[in-house]
Structures are given as structure tokens and as C-alpha cells.
Symmetry: C3
Subunit: 359 residues, 3 copies
Amino acid sequence: MTSKTNSGNFFEDFELGAELVHPIPRTVTEGDQALYIALTGDRSPLSCSRPLARELGYAREPVHDLLVFHMVFGKTVGDVSLNAVANLGYADGRFLAPVYPGDTLRSSSTVIGRKQNSSGKTGVVWVRTRGENQRGEAVLEYTRWVMVNKRSPQSPEGERLIPELPSRVAPEDLVLPDFVKTADFPAWTTGGRAFFDDYEVGELIDHVDGMTIEESEHALATRLYQNTAKVHFDAVKTKDTRFGRRLMYGGHVISVAKALSFNGLENALGVLAINGGTHAAPCFAGDTVYARSELIEKAELPGRSDVGALRLRLLAVKDVDPASEPFEARVERDGKQRYAPSVLLDLDLWVWMPKRPSA
Amino acid sequence: MTSKTNSGNFFEDFELGAELVHPIPRTVTEGDQALYIALTGDRSPLSCSRPLARELGYAREPVHDLLVFHMVFGKTVGDVSLNAVANLGYADGRFLAPVYPGDTLRSSSTVIGRKQNSSGKTGVVWVRTRGENQRGEAVLEYTRWVMVNKRSPQSPEGERLIPELPSRVAPEDLVLPDFVKTADFPAWTTGGRAFFDDYEVGELIDHVDGMTIEESEHALATRLYQNTAKVHFDAVKTKDTRFGRRLMYGGHVISVAKALSFNGLENALGVLAINGGTHAAPCFAGDTVYARSELIEKAELPGRSDVGALRLRLLAVKDVDPASEPFEARVERDGKQRYAPSVLLDLDLWVWMPKRPSA
Amino acid sequence: MTSKTNSGNFFEDFELGAELVHPIPRTVTEGDQALYIALTGDRSPLSCSRPLARELGYAREPVHDLLVFHMVFGKTVGDVSLNAVANLGYADGRFLAPVYPGDTLRSSSTVIGRKQNSSGKTGVVWVRTRGENQRGEAVLEYTRWVMVNKRSPQSPEGERLIPELPSRVAPEDLVLPDFVKTADFPAWTTGGRAFFDDYEVGELIDHVDGMTIEESEHALATRLYQNTAKVHFDAVKTKDTRFGRRLMYGGHVISVAKALSFNGLENALGVLAINGGTHAAPCFAGDTVYARSELIEKAELPGRSDVGALRLRLLAVKDVDPASEPFEARVERDGKQRYAPSVLLDLDLWVWMPKRPSA
């Protein structure tokens, strides 16, 4: 192997404050949107209906929020997580501006934390990633942290900084574009009977449907995002890993769960923030994903009386439908509260939703 | 499960004359067209060649007829057939105007018939569905009927009306847009050597090719159409059904058979009507589909001397190639004429085709 | 089976000098581009980034070179290789003009060689294929030869001509459009650290990543190109062939290997020529593809001092990663030098690459 190829950064390579400019700017198109729907089953009306988008003030149908996330994320893999052992978490993610088909996304990341693990073989790296459009405007920012292999256990530990992360994005920092107007929101377009006012903190919504994911489906999605992490694609190399097979890109689980959550949250028109997230267990081809949402907070949006923000905890659960049988996300094991083995994902989101139109 | 989710209508919920406005208007794009080709193998030149479409008078390449059908149909599932036991048939379907990439489709359905079954546990519901574009112009209308579960066997039977359905759309009701002109039809673009004049009533055409369908392929197609019927997606829940596995969306079988039928019907430039159709047997991943067409009627189109209409009976057959071995669609079983077990689909269509150019 | 269907040409049908005009012109769209990325993992920045394409002088992002190749090739199958026993080779392929989304591709082929095999049951046919856009401008030309069944072993041998083929396209015949300018080439967009100057003849690059291909993935790709060769699609009919299963379209192997080769050749911005190519072994679903490039020649491009041409031998290897273990493409078997059994593809390409910017 020559030195011309990129074999990714190791823990030693991440210096605090370093800025990584990720290659391969990507023009997002209607083709990507169609594939996103076909791969995830997403039905978000705002992203699939041009007339609705225009009635709400958008120039046209915006690219799905999570498709933007995956495109921005995908670019970071070659520099951040090619040698990652685990994708540990997300925090403080904000969607800042709509992306339209034809826009071009690029990403850069700043190393904001690093900490060698006690084994001396790995370390944790925190990066703050910024996704921009072709005009250099930020469209998305988020923090994620990963466990990365060290090139050598002997190399020095280096600097140590564990960044402080907010437990959630504050409502006053949520960005819904000013141009959005919901005065004439045609609720028939979503089919949702419930509005912001109708949801209560503590409420659980089991989203009814399940989706079995095939090997080619997650691979198509992950390649679409130009995410090149080997573990998703190489059946030969993954045979000798602890899972013995290809691992699904966690982002595909997020998208499938989000798509399933449409049934019961039809009027959640867009994602404003990813407050945090954990991939509690790996997902593999053949798994069937179900989704449950728990409403954990409601907030007003700065300067708006027509829409509000719902904070949801979106759970993806594997092979067990929480709608059909008693289900607890947390169980006691070895004297500790842990995720039930069937929990794949625990994601904390802010979404926006129109208030009930006055009659 | 809270009441915010949609668990579909039951037989009791369908009132005669009720109008169901289906949510999620959908802008159809070039991305959907590309996926349609990749998923079905369709080669209809009118929908994949912009110059040909323009030579024939279209503004640009129109969306595939059956892609329009699936998009319109997909929207109805949440209101009509989420609790369906079986999709019993189609009738009186007419394509009324071309749809172009960028157009937005929406659907509504009227309940035109209902009849409780003798068991008291299910009933049959007939709906007339209308697909419209963003200007409110009808692009497609069809009738379908489904067997739907009752919420409770105890609930009263309700009204009973079995609608009269035409055995086929009358030729004078077929709509080919006036702007279509075939004077300079470049027949090399289709590769077809036979024109309207060359087909004879009673003729059988075995379409040579076969297509094996994978689990992910029908799932991608069905999600693309935002059709959410559980039986197509959930391997866990379908394990305990009588088939023990996911069932393919019948519309995917229609599209694959139609795509295969290109070989031998190259100059059939578009579908004018779906006269009727039966899914004779379920189709599953791994099945190989072959197609046979029988020419059952020829007709002139109102006001046109350059093109005519062919009425075809399109059969989709599973794992047996009618071109290679003797094949009868109907066999005697238990003293009755029934479909041979390998028959998946029996679809009755009107297509339009140019007449042989005079030399 | 009636005579209306196309069952393909046999050896007897190919007359020297005959011109075959292939049907089904195809408008290539953003949807096709998105699918190409999802199916192959391609990351070529020129084809996925509109701003980069414009900075380099293109009107917008051009269609992937190999997607153009597959579309042009796909059209030829019905006339050239429906009855082919084997796709023997490619030669003298040149990319002549960029194709943009919205352009329409059509193909025609001239029979330039034919030779009956000694068995009398098959023959070899050479065709020169030309791909054109909607203005009749050539965008691609290449020669390929296939072994085709005879309709009858008794039929006469016919004419015999074995065309002379160049061992590679001469550098002075390579076409890079005059409008291409690299003065401000933003190298961050590719992530490549190596430029034309940095590659040495004889250098080997093992491209690190591997890609396992699923049945539905190659089938989706092959249908997208409207390539109808039965062997790729029909699990029933292929059960009795010598492989006992569906065979992958060789072009999909080319595309996957080319996509993998991005890692280590990031600044190879486009393909100029296919000098030759051999499918050394069949590829099947479930195989994992790795790629190795050998740099076999460097050349200046006519009239340009800013970019040069690299001639690469691109190997696709199955289930063995040449980056991880000792690997020889050629091994001795039965006293002859032959391809190692794991070699799928040996492709000889010219690509273009900017020279290192002077500081």
C-alpha cells in the first residue's frame, strides 16, 4: 500500500483546535431526495410536496433534514472516523438554514476535545462539525464524539480536554427561518389530526409500523451519503470482527425510525435540533425496526405565536413492536439501569409544529 | 398506543358516498423516474427520451403511466386498505392527462359500494379514486375494491350497494391528448417492427425475458410510492400470517410485467386505461416473473386516424416461462376453471399505438 | 412465441460493414446520477459538485464517464449480445465530449470484424459503437468483441475479418475539452495530496477499501442502463447454466472498482480512454470487490501544460484484499501465465490529472 491512499486519522493525529476541511463538496439533487424516500419510507410532506413548501414560504421543497445531516456527516468519515471503534454520541446539533435541491454541501470539523482511554490503546475525540452551502452559509452544526484507535499504544497521551456539552439546545437558540408562515397551513396535506397544543409532556406515541432492513438498502443509503466507513460495506473484512458481519450505518436507523414516527406526529414539519443521541446497540440487515416517541418538553419559539417546538425522545427498537407488547426501554441488568437489548437508538430531537388553527 | 396514530379504517367506517381526501401530495421528479427504471427495467421510450416526447407533441418526457398510478394509489392506502385482507380488483381506470416531472400528485376517493360478507367479520368496499395534479386537473381515475376487516363482528351490517362496473372502458371514452402528433414518429427509437395494423385479435405474445425480484427491490418501490401497507415491510409481523413472510405490493408485479412486455409491444407508447385486473396469486421475493400478452380487442380512437388502441390481457406468470413451455393460464381444479397456480396477475389494459406509416 | 419479439441476432446475422441503429434514446438525469453514486459508491468530485465543475470550466456537473459508458453500452445489448456466450474484450474507447444531465444518449454500432470459431457453433463479432447526444455529437466511441452463438452449426461461415486494434489510444488522440481550465483548481475538494507529477510508472496503488455486492444492487444498476441481457436477471433460467446462478453485468464490476480507486487517485478528474479490458472471471452477488491500480504510462496532453494523462491498469480482485496480503495478478497454471482465480477485471484506462500547482 503506498502512502497516496488515505487510511484515516488515529488518536495521535487529532490536535485540539485543529480544523479539518473535508473533501468532496456534494450537490444534492431531486435524485437524492427520491432515493431518500425509497430507502427510508419518509413521508414528510414539506420535503415531498412543492406546493405545500411554497404555501409555507419556502422557495420550493427543501431537502429532508436528515438527508442534509447524512450528507454533511458522510464527508467527515474519512478524516474523523475511519479508524473509529465506536460512534459514541451526538450533541448540540442545530439546523440553521434550509437546503434546496441544487445546493452544494460541504463540511469542516474542529477538534474540540480529546482524552486517551485508560487502556492506552484508544482515545475519545470530540469534533464540532459545520455543514455549509455553496455560499458558505452554515446549514447545520453538531458535535459528535468517537472512540478512535491509537496508531501505537506507546505514543504519548497528548492534550486532554473534555468539552462541556449542553444537555439540549435551548429553545431560544432554535432556528426556524423567518419566512416560514403557517397562517394558511393546509392540514389535510399531512393527514395529522393533532397539533402542538394537543401533545402533552410525558406522552408516549408508539408509531404502529415496522420496517425490516435489507443489506442492500443500508448500503445504498450509506453510499449515497459517500460515507466510506468499511464496516458497512465489506463482508470479508467484517467476518472476523466481534459481530462477524457488516454493521449498519447508525444514521440509517435514525432515518428509518424518523420515517416511522410520521404516523402520530404528522404535523411535525421539520427537525430543528438534535440534542443528543446514542446508538444503544448495533443494527444488522434483517432487523425489523419499530419506533416510539416520548414527548419530553414543549417550548415556544422566539418571536412566533403560530408554531411551537416539541422535544422528543425517539427510540428505535429491534424486532419487538412496543405498540403490541409491554415494553420498557430501560431494564435492570447487573444491578444497573441499562437499555433493553432490543433498543437500537435513543435520540433527543426538537421538531417544530403548527399550533391548532383557531376556528 | 395513543389515539394520535392512524390505524386505518375498518369496514364500519366506510359510509356510502363519503369522500376521503388523502394526505401527502407528492411532487414527482426525475429522481422518481430514474428509480422507476432501475426498479422495473422499464424501457418505454416516451418516458425516457425527451427528444422523442417532444417530437410527439409532449412538453417533455412524461412520468411513466404506472408510476403515476402507483403514486396515486399509494396515498389511498392509509385511508382505504390499511386493514385490508385482500385487494380484490380494479376496474374502469382511465389516464386523463400527462404528468410531467415537477408536477404534484394528490388523491381522493369516494366510497361507491359496500357489502358485508356472510361471515360478519369482513366486508367489501368499493372506492372510486381520482388523482389530480397541482392545478386540480384529473390525471387518473379508477375503481378498486378491497376486502376489509370489521372492527367488531357484532357491529351492524350497514348499507349495502354493489356498484355496477363496466367490463372495459369504451373506446370512445379513452383519452389521448389532442396535442399528440405521430406524423413524424421515428420508429427507430422504439425498435419495434410491428404497428397497430400488424396485431390481430387473439394473438398471443410471449415476452421472452424473465425478472427475479429481490426483497429490497419491491420494498424500495413500495416506499417510493409512500405506500405504507405493513404486509410489504415487516418481516416480524408477517411471520405469523398465512404466508409467513412479506408479501410483494401487487403493483410492483404489474410494473415488472409491463416492463417485460416491451419486447414485442415496442410501439405501444402509453397506457390509456386499466379495464380490470386481478392479483391471482401472491408474489414473494425470489420469484421470477415472466409476461404474456393476449390481444383481445382493437379499436379506433375518437377523432384520430394515425393511432389506434389495443386492448391487451397482460399475464404475469411465476417461475415458468410461457415462451419456453406449453402454458395455459386457466386450468381445471375441483371441477372449476381456475387460474394456474403460477399465474400472478391478469390485467386488462388499453394501450395506444401508431398505425403503420404509409410508404 | 410470435415473431414480434426480439430474440437477438445470431452470428449469421452480422454482416461486415452493417450499421445497427440501437433503439431507446435515453435522457440522462440527476436521478440517474444519484443512483449511480448509491449503487457504486462513486465520489468523483467533478460529477457530484456543481461549483467545482464550474470552476473547471464545465457548464455544470457532467454525468459520470462510466455512467455514460453503461448507458451507451446498454442500448447495444439487444442487437449485439443477446445471444452472446461471452463478452471478450474492449479496445480503443475514447470519451469525446462531456454529457450533462438533461442530455439524451443514443447509440449505433458498425460490424467491423467477424470470424467463425473452429467448433462451427459460435463466432466472434467485433463492433465499433458510437454514443451520441441529442445534437448528434459523438460523446463516446469504443470497440468491443463478443462470442455469439450461431443460429445453426450448418450455416456457412461467411466473411472473415479480424480487425486490427491499437494496444492503447495514442496520447495525441485523447480529448480533454479546450474549455477545461485548472488554474484555480481547489485541491481541497478532492482531498488528494498527489498530483500528476507525483505518480511514477510502475507504481502500485492498493485502494484500501472493499465492497460486497448484493443481488439487487447489480440488478438495479443494470436495469438503470436498460441493459436486458437475461443472464443478469433471471434466476430460473440461469439455474441450468454452468454458473447455476445470475451473473453480474461486468460493467458493474468496472464501476465499483473505479469508485474504490478514488482512494489514492483523488485528483484523477476524469476518464479519457478505455484502452482495453478483460473480464477475467465472472462476478456474483455476495462477492467482495477490492481494487489495485498499476501506473503503466504517463503522457502529456496535446496543447496543455497544466494537466497530464496517467495510464492505469485497474484490477478488480474478489474476496482477497491486495492491500492486506501478498498478491500477484498473474500466476502459473498448467505451465501458462494466467490470471489468478481471484482476478475479476483487468482494465486499461487513461485518466487526466492536474499537475502540482507551482507554489
